[in-house]
């Protein structure tokens, strides 16, 4: 018999899976000779955003360390 917590987690995961159906046929973007899956394109966009955020966001404790020096 499944525990209550496990049922809740399984139900949530099932809803999440319904939002992102991973067994469906993949979607692709085309531009001239270039072709890329939407999934790969999203990952590349996320990497660029992470890179920009890493350059711009302040690092915790940096000001305190500078004042200390």
């Amino acid at each position: 018999m499944l525990g209550r917590g496990r049922i809740v987690v399984t139900t949530l995961l099932a809803h999440f899976g319904a939002l992102l159906p991973l067994n469906a046929i993949g979607h692709y973007l085309h531009w001239h000779i270039f072709q890329i899956s939407v999934a790969n394109f999203v990952v590349i966009v996320l990497m660029v955003l992470t890179f920009v955020a890493a350059l711009l966001l302040p690092f915790p404790g940096r000001r305190r360390r500078r004042e200390h020096q």
Partner: protein, 208 residues
Amino acid sequence: MSYVDIERQWTTRLRQRLVRLLPPDRLLPDTQPTYVSSWIYVFGVTTVAALMVVIATGCVLAIRGPQWWHGSSVGLFVNSLHLWSVEIFFFSMVVHLWGKFFMAAWRGGRALTWMTGVVTFLTSIAAAFTGYLCQSNFDSQWISTQAKDGINATGAGAYWNVLNMGQMLMWHIVLLPIAAVALTALHVLLVRVKGVVPPFAETTEMRS
């Protein structure tokens, strides 16, 4: 044995050379330069952390086998952990690579550090691709039949047969992980020997 004899031993000379090259306080430093206080420096260590999870989950998968990782909920969970830690590994490594490229991290005698990073990246790609071939499902069958045409077009198919499950499994769980971990260890040691590359402005100030 005299003092001179001890000094001439290869073990003594090797130890002295290693300690000179990498003293303990540089191997495990207490502090880092101020410029390291940036998020862009986090992605190298994130890559190493993800690699640890990849190796650990891979070991569990190797112990339990395909029936377990395809047929049980815990097996599917560990299989997913293996996949997603690889995703985080490559995600972090690419952001780390971009950061180091725009810092020109090969400056100051760090060319070998840069090149070990490049070779680690290429080795990891090979490790990931052979992983797709070792899933032991229809997905891996489809990928291997597609990959064989590409590999055969290069002429390497006679030695590197992607349809040979045994060969690909050995490359995926023995040779390539050993190479990736050894290269990562060498890369990290070289970072410790040469130190983290300083920003451009600081280099200019040091020169003037």
